[in-house]
Amino acid sequence: MITLSAQPFDAGDELKAFEARASGAGAIVSFTGLVRDRASDENVRILHLQAYSPMTERGIEQAAARAEARWPLTAIRILHRIGDMGPGEPIVFVATASAHRRDAFEAADFLMDYLKTEAVFWKKEVTDTGERWIEPRAEDYQDSARWALTGED
């Protein structure tokens, strides 16, 4: 279940809804990304997230399908904010459910690496002194590259 939302959301409510849907799973892993409040010693006022629909949604759906092919998951939830959001607000929520915890952990980790480096979003940080577009860091690409390996690592 994949949603792009221009409205704020509550990660706790999302986890409740996901747990209800994934009942019988055994293991649920969630990841919540929050807008940071500081960037290079400046206060962040706004984070702006731009998507390119429906390419963005289609890409996320394909990543979710890859996760389901690779790990035995009983449910997936991906919720991503678009538009403007303030410091401390959730920007992304990913949850995975499986019979076994390693599968849930790895799938959530994989999905986050996809969202960080391949999902079709552009991010702009507005601080007290100006604004700048943010691109993935080298370590984001390294994290993402782990999943290209064959097997379960």
């Binding site: 390119y52 390419m55 079709v120």
Partner: protein, 82 residues
Amino acid sequence: MADILYFGRLGDVTGIPSEHIALPSNISNTLQLRTWLDGEKSLGGALLEKTVRLAVNSEIVADPHPVKDGDEIAFMPPVGGG
């Protein structure tokens, strides 16, 4: 006429998120389009960067890829959410 979209920092660089333009008759692929638009707008190479990918009708393509009237063509700097 084609729809050209400028995402991320390219929207700031061009000053517009998108435009509806007539493709000149000598512009038939993405490489030609990059060069022509970058020159037209005096962007100094922003549209020529290798990290800027193009999507034609919502599919990311490798240069040179055919473009024609009616296409939606997106200039996409490096992506990343979360």
